[in-house]
Structure formats: C-alpha cells, structure tokens
Symmetry: D3
Subunit: 220 residues, 6 copies
C-alpha cells in the first residue's frame, strides 16, 4: 500500500469515530488505506469491525484480538512490523492527552513503532513514515492543525458506524450517532464545509543515524 494511510486504534469503532470519513475519502479516490486495531473484546466485535472496515474501503484490516492494551514492548514490535509491511506515508492514531488510558498507551506504542520501522538495523527493508496525525474520538482537540472535508464520504462513515450494533445498544438515547454527527458538523463549521474531521500533526525526525532519509536541500 505504499504511499497510503494507516490508522492504528485501540478498539473496534475508534477508527470510524476518529477518522472514518478521512479513510473512506482517500479509499474512494483509489489511495491505499489500512487499519490496525490492537484489541477485540469481546470477540464478537471482530465481525462488526470487518464490516465497518469494508464500508470505509479497507478490505484487509489487521486486528490483534488482545483483551486489552498493556504497558509492554510486544505491541510496539507488532505495529512496526505492520508499518514495514504496509509502507504507509501517513499514520493516524489516538491523542496523547485522550482521557482513555488505553488510547494513551496506543499513542506511545505507535510513536515508538514509527521510529523502529525506519531503522536499517531493525529491518532489511525499513520504512520511514512521513506524517504522524492524531485524531479525536471522545476527547476533543482544542485547536486542530488540519481539518479534512469529509462531506463526500460522510455516508460511508455513517454506514460503518451502523455496523457497531453491540456498542450502539449501550446508548438507547442515541448518543453514539448523535455525538459523531455533531462533532463532524462542528468541525465542518470551522472548515466552511458540511462535515469535517480534525487532526493534530506531530512532526517526525527524518534524520536518525539509522534512517535512509537524512537530509533535505529545500525547505520550500
């Protein structure tokens, strides 16, 4: 999938809530889009995740099916393997200041994995990610760096959300769909379009001793 987007999330449905419109938008244009989900608890959510991913245009998402995200080096290696395998230009994940502890742990693991995936000492065909983007699930970004206009793909985001019936059932008053809709409309108001998704960008060092890319000659 060289040059595409990889979203790495803690739980099935985080990808739809956080960046579903953005993934579907790029997929529709034929750009490569991929999803890696670290947990699957209870196991029934796997089927929902596969249907939602397909609606977003991702036919072979990766799911680790762990019970929970833990402090450990093992997910880091599995994520860096996925980065080296899929070769994305942009990686999207959770916010470091998310209220959910597991979301914060995923952010830390992805940041490390991006580093190691680029090391010539760790992989025979390492891969240097170019953009690192952070999305909002329930915790909002105070002042986003980027707003993506997802008006075109918003129906696919809604469709994907609809597959998460085990989650929707937890909120009889419709919180799930309504929060997702209003967040997209608020970001749309800021972006002067109907629906948008917000991101922070975190710059990456591109010049480690262990990387192929080391310098630039033009800042413009």
């Amino acid at each position: 999938m060289v040059e595409g987007i990889l979203a790495v999330v803690a739980h099935p449905d985080d990808e739809t809530f956080g960046c579903g419109g953005t993934l579907a938008l790029h997929a529709t244009r034929g750009q490569s889009v991929d999803i890696l989900c670290l947990t699957c608890n209870p196991p029934e959510r796997r089927g929902e995740f596969l249907k939602a991913s397909k609606a977003l245009g991702v036919s072979e998402p990766i799911i680790f099916e762990e019970r929970e995200v833990v402090h450990s080096t093992s997910p880091i290696r599995r994520i860096s393997d996925a980065i080296v395998d899929r070769r994305p230009r942009a990686v999207i994940t959770h916010l470091p200041f998310d209220y959910h502890m597991e979301h914060k742990l995923v952010y830390e693991a992805v940041k490390e994995a991006i580093e190691w995936a680029a090391h010539t000492t760790a992989y025979s065909e390492p891969w240097l990610v170019d953009r690192f983007l952070l999305m909002e699930v329930n915790t909002l970004i105070p002042n986003p760096h980027i707003l993506v206009d997802v008006t075109e793909s918003f129906d696919r985001k809604k469709e994907a959300l609809g597959y998460y019936k085990s989650q929707l059932a937890k909120f009889p008053w419709g919180y799930y769909e309504r929060f997702s809709l209003k967040k997209a409309e608020l970001r749309g108001a800021q972006a002067d379009c109907r629906y948008a998704e917000a991101f922070l960008e975190e710059p990456l060092a591109s010049s480690s001793p262990f990387y192929e890319a080391k310098k630039t000659e033009n800042l413009l």
Copy 2:
C-alpha cells in the same frame, strides 16, 4: 450580587460565545449575574456589548474600554476591585490554553485578582470566590469537568449574538452563528440534552493566611 456569577472576558462577544446560555439561565431564575469586559476596540462595539448583555439578563455590565489586553498589574487591580464590589460566588473566564494571546493574559489576570480580592490586607471587605470556571470560545476543552444544560436559555444566547453586527459582518458565510450553534449541539449530545455549554473547573486554595475562611470540618 452576593452568591452570583461574574464572567470576565477579553472582548465584547466572548461572554456570549463562551457562557451566554449559562449566564441567561441563572439570570432568568433570579440569580445574580455580572459581566466584566476588559477591552472595547473599536469603540462602536460598546453599544453591541450593552445590548447583548441586556439580552443575557445583565443590566449593568462593566467595560474597561482598553484598546488591548497587556502584560501589566493594572488590570489585575481593577478586576479584584470588581470582585470585591460584586461579590460573586463563581467566576468564569478564558482558558489558559486558549489559542488567543489576549485570552491567556485575561486568565492570568483573573487568577491573580481572585487571590488579592480575598486578602484582608488589601481590602477592608475582602471577598473569597468559591468556584473558578473556564469556558470555551474558539478553542475547545478536550474533556470538560462540567456541562451546563442551556436548552431553556438558548434563544437568549442567540439573540445576544445577533447584536454583534460588526462581528457578524466579517463572516459572510455565517461562520459566527453556525459555529456557536454546532458547539452547543455537540456539548448537548454529550450532556444528553439539546444545547449545553462546557467548562473546566480549577480548584482554589481557601486557606491563605490572608483569608477569613481558613479550614473546613466536613468533606462530604
């Protein structure tokens, strides 16, 4: 106005955007509500501010009519004078991580003013504020401490906003009204009501050597 709310803002319209529904809600119930605005630039905004304040239920708002908010001790003293004069139980102001430099300066000044207003060495009738709340204008709160249901008073917030014609004119595509509406709907989705306003709460020390209130005997 003992036991009421005082909102301290940088510019005319910040009070309406940030906490207009909350102010109107309390005013309607007969609780004391007050507004202190530090700047007024250009001077024409004064009239808009007075009309908007009235719509929110505040008949005698304070406006300093400075051109801009500056690093200086003089606004601190003026704000603490207002606190001692109006005797609010809760003070609302801007976020310390607001993207707007003047909003951040107002936060700093209000925090200092709350301290000095309570000093027995500074005022013959000092006043100890009980709650310190921070509101969102354009910068969002990632994970609010408090959501106030403003469904009842939302019409008055809309009316107040309508008086800021000099500001509305800057956004021909209707950004101003639309962002305000969608923010209230998003916070409403989180609060399980139609419209809400979000706040952070910052705890205050209640036991300085210079305060009357010094201790408690019950945490429950």
Copy 3:
C-alpha cells in the same frame, strides 16, 4: 457506605500519616469511612494495619496484601470494584508528585479506577465519585486547596500511629511521631486551629457518555 470517604493507599501507615485525623473525624460523626491498602510487606504489618484502622473508626478495611505496587491494569480493576462496592462520595489518595514511585503508581491507578467505576458499560450498578482529594505523607503540598481541622480527632490519629511498631522501631530518634506532629501543627497554624491535615482537590469530569450524571443546571 454510600456518601462516605474512601482512602486508597500504597502501604499500611500511609492512611494514618496522610489523612488519619480526617478519617477519624468523619467516623466519629457517624459518616462512612473506608480504607483500601494495596500492599502488605512484610505480612506482619497486616495486624498493625487492622489495629490502626480500627482506631480511626474503620472496622472493615480492605487490604490486598501484594508485595509491591506494579505497573499493571489488575490493581485498577480491583480498586474500581471496591469503589462500586463501597460507593464513596470522596476518594483520597497519594500525590502525583510524591517522591515515592509506588505512591505515584497508586495515584494513577486510583484516577483510572474512578473513571471505570462510573461506566454503565463496566458495571451494572456503577458509581460516580464526586470529590477526588490528594493527601501528603512525606512529600508536602506547596499550596493546599483544603485544610481540615483535625484538633478533635488528633488523639485517635496518634493512637493509630502507635500501632505501627514495626515502623516506629526503624527510627530510634522518634522521627515518625515528631514529623507527624509537626506537620499537623504547621497545617494548624495555616488553618488557625491546633492541628490540621492538608489536601489538594482534583476536579473530575461528571459527564462522560458512560455516566449516569451528565449535566448540571446550576453552578451556584
């Protein structure tokens, strides 16, 4: 114990040092008071802990009897179970900037546990804690939010401390009792009473999608 206080501490004796007077004060008035201690090493400290707890007015304290506090999700779940079971209005624990690593880990675990205890998706009868308070053991709070006058209950704190003979024996020069006494006197000097205990308060979000309590209509 609905509506009472739960203190969660790392080691036997932390509860007495940090908030023993406050617990005894509330217990004496018939308010519910509880203690949860995560470790017990060496096992002999269990007996000391039970005697001290009783002196403070807690008849059924919880003790996990682990050897040490570790980075892991298991204590979080055990603490949230205790919160759901005991239903406290206020939770007291260690400072996030305590010099002792295990105290910091307990702070993190308690903060997470308070979140999960309130989730309707995690418990059939979830419980939303109202106040989150942080106490001082050896590390002092620079500028406390709250000082509790413990003059009345100070004898019970001293009695409780006296049961920790295995700890007292480590300090032949009487550090243990003297530091506890002088800290209470210093905080008393600040609170204009004989003995006091100091706390920081950390505000909690009361409006997650997973909580029953979602909004307020009155800030006063």
Copy 4:
C-alpha cells in the same frame, strides 16, 4: 517574495549562526530569502548586519534597531506587518527553550505574529505562513526534525560571520568561528554530508475562522 523564507532574529549575527547556510542555499537557487532583526545595540552593528545579509543573498533585510527585546505587543504587530508585506512560505526563528531570554521573547512574538498576519479581520491582504521552523544559535536542538545540507553554501556563511568583527573581537581564542564550524560538522555527520544546519518544525493550525485556507481534502 511569495513562497520564500523569512528569518526573524533577536540580534545581528543570530541569522548567520542559526540559519545562514540555509538562507544562502535558497538565495543562490533564486528563491526569495529575507531577514528581520529586532534589535541593534550598539548601533555600529547595523553595518555589520547589512554586509552579512548581503553575503547570504539578502539585499533588503529589515532591522528595527531597538535597544532590546521587551515584553510588549508592539513588536508583534511590526513582525506581522513584515509577514504580510513579504509573504513568506516558511518562517524561521529562535527556540522556545533557548537559554537567552530575548531569544525566547522573539519566539513568542513571531508565533503570535504568524497568527495575526493570516487574519482577514486584521489585514486586507492577509498571509498564511505554511511552515514554522526553529533554529539553533548557542542552545542545541536535542533531536532535530530537519537537517539542511549546507555544504554548497557554507563559504557564504563563513564570509557573513567574518563581517561581525565587533563580536569576533570579544573572543580572542576564536570561539565564535570554531563553534559555528563544529556545529555544522556535527550536524553534517548526522545528515551524512559535510555541513548541515538543524531545525525543529512546529505545525501551524491552518483552519482558523479568520483564515482563507480552512480545509484540506488530501493528506498524501
């Protein structure tokens, strides 16, 4: 100078030390390059600054000739005026963690100025800067985001440095030239070239209500 680089510095010679090679490299290729220096104390340094700027390929640098950098809003407005006038794509300035207080103040002022330069409410022809880069003078960047290969233009950097005779005279043991050389060689070792300059990149929000550019439709 649409699409070029603007370096904003506290003192004459900071531009040469921090990004002289980068400026000269771009100028040689015919790209627009500009320098804005806030102070000039003593006044004799003005002549040195003009000669150095010319050596770097900047024929009309801006110099404010203040005695010192102060906490105030006036430099912010003057810098934003310069941004609107010169229309740079990239702005380079000092590090926020520089050991020199005046360098830190310049960083703060430039960050504010970039914001206001883009406001449709502040300028009839506002300008949205695209990249915000931070350079190293005496304080080093722990882990740079970008290394620019300045091997080609390093002679021009050395020539520029040579014009600062009033500064060189303060270091009889040649500190000035030697530190500059060794820093470029160290960064060159990291970039796998002879001489390099290091930068941090700070992402900018591109979607304020007050900006023309508000959204994107492609992250790749």
Copy 5:
C-alpha cells in the same frame, strides 16, 4: 564579600521568613552575607527591614524601594549589578512555583541576572555564581534538596521577625510567628535537629561562551 551568600527577595520580611536562620548562621561564623530587597511599600517598612537585616548580621542590605515587582528588564540589570558588586558564591531567592506572582517574577529576574553577571561582554569584572538556591516563604517545597540546621541561629531569626511590627499587626491571632516556628520545627523533624530551613537547588550552566569558567576536569 567574595564567597558569601546573597539573598534576593521581593518584600521586606521575605528574607527573614525564607532564610533568616541560614543567613544569621553564616554571618555568625564570619562568612559574608547580603540581602537585596526589590520593593518597599509602604515606605515605613524600610526601617523594619534595616533592623531585621542587622539582627541577621547584614549591616548594609540593598533595598530598591519600588512599589511593586513588574515584568521588565530594569530589575534584572540592577540585580546583576549587585551580583557583580558583592560577588556571592551562593544566591538564594523565591520559588518558581510560589503562589505569589511577585515572588515568581523575582525568581525569573534573579535567574536572568545570574546569567548576565557572568558575561565578559557585559561587565569588565564579571562574576559567576556557583550555587542557586530557592527558599520557602508561604509556599512549601514538596521534597527539599537541602535542609540547613538553624538551631544555633534561630533566636536571631525570631528577633528579626519581631521587628516587622507593621506586618505582625495584621494577624492578631499570631499567625506570623506561629507559622514561622512550626515550619522550622517541621523541617527540623526531617533534619533530625531542632530547627531547620529547607531549600531547592537549581544547577547552573558553568560553560557559556561568555564565561571565564568553562570546563572541569574532575567530577569527584
């Protein structure tokens, strides 16, 4: 006074509260001790300050007699002049996290002044301070780096405090003397002596291009 201590404080009495015992202890042993106080408001406090300083063993303290501490570069230069004139080995000032805004401003100014006092480009006889220590007035240090046993000199601290009659009068219930005593006893309990004063130490760079001292050859 080469090799002595200089205490720089915001208000008359801060020196006595924060480090009076430490100053008197060193003065008694014949070591050089000096005090610089930035403000004097109301002017009557000048006389109290001179008497207190004398009791601590400082015959020629410096007092600027400003009304308040302000954000500005002028106090920085006056403090660095004093450092160059008095040549202290250790400088003591307020905490950066003090609750009092003016104390924080003094900390910032002293930190800058220590830097500039050592510059060969700023002074013909520059002076490099060796130790930078931070004391506690009303805000406590959570975990001190250094405890100074002031048992011997505590009577002189009490005597000095007694001269601040204008301040003592503000606290009819004796807060002033009692807090000072209990703080010294608490720190004494930690230090295994009767009375102590607590400090943080902030390491200083000793190797600027502008300093005489640049390197060491022995870390032991």
Copy 6:
C-alpha cells in the same frame, strides 16, 4: 570503589559514546570508575563491551545481559544493589528526554535506585550518592551544566569505540566514529579545549527520613 563514578547504561557502547572520555580520565588518575550495562542483545556484544570497558580503565564492569529494558521494578533493585555494593559518589546515566525509549526507562530506574540505595530500611549498609549526572548519546543536551575536558583521555575513548565492530559495521559511511568525534569537538569549542563531554546535573534530596545524611550547616 568508594568515592568513584558509576555509569549505568542501556546498551553496550552507550557508556563509550556518552561518557567514555570522562570515565577514562578519572580512571587514569586512579579514581574508581565502574560501568553497569543493563542489556546485551545479541550476546556477542558482551565481548565487545568487556574490551571497551577495559580500554576505559574499568576491569570489572557489570552486565545484566537482558534482551531489552522493560517497565518493571526488577532492574531498579538490581541497580540499587550495585550502588550499595560499589558505593559511587557520582552516578552517570541517560537523559530523561532521550529519543530512545529504553534510555528513558533506564533514567527512571536509576533515579529510583539511587533513592532506595540510601534507605536505612532497605540495606544494612546503605549508600547515599552525591551527584547525579546525565550524559548525551545521540540526543544532545541543549545547554549543559558541566563540560568535562577529555582531551587527555580521548585516545582511550576512540580505542574503546573501535572494539564495537558489530555496531561499526552497520554504518559503512563511518557515521559512528565521525559523530563521536564531532560531538567531542563541538563540546570542546564550548569548553575552550580540544575535546569535551557534556552533562546535565540533577540535584538529589539528601535529607529523607531514611537517610543517614540529613542536614548541612554550611552552604559555602
């Protein structure tokens, strides 16, 4: 080795890169120098490490031979045992803001180990370290506290580096030796000598209830 230096590092070669010149300098003068390395992966690096250590003057370095550094309390205890056994006056380790996750974990573990090594309750012969120094491997220190002139011992550092053939082979273009040389020359330029190594110093509390050393009587 009472009174010497102990360097604690994550991987074989970190000690040479970060403080090899400083260790060799002290060893040559007959001062005690020791190295503790936490990992050894792959196992072949053990031989390289022993040769390099010997070149730096350390005949009995400690190597734990773990595969990786993990979040856990077990390394803390092993490090504190080593501190109590070797009794160093100064401990050197990695930077807390190093880009490498394992380096950051080692910093955390060493900081904790220094604390526990001094506890009279943990060891029958506890040891209180006096200085805690942080070195630079690939991540640079922005503004060092200390520069050690290693001109005399630089040949031994180069010799030690040469033994790490498995690492050198990863960089055919000579990055390894060149970065090490240029970093030493840059720090030398700052220290006015040929080669230097840079360190931060982090002050340690010397007055815990559990320490023998509790107070001082002289700050000069």
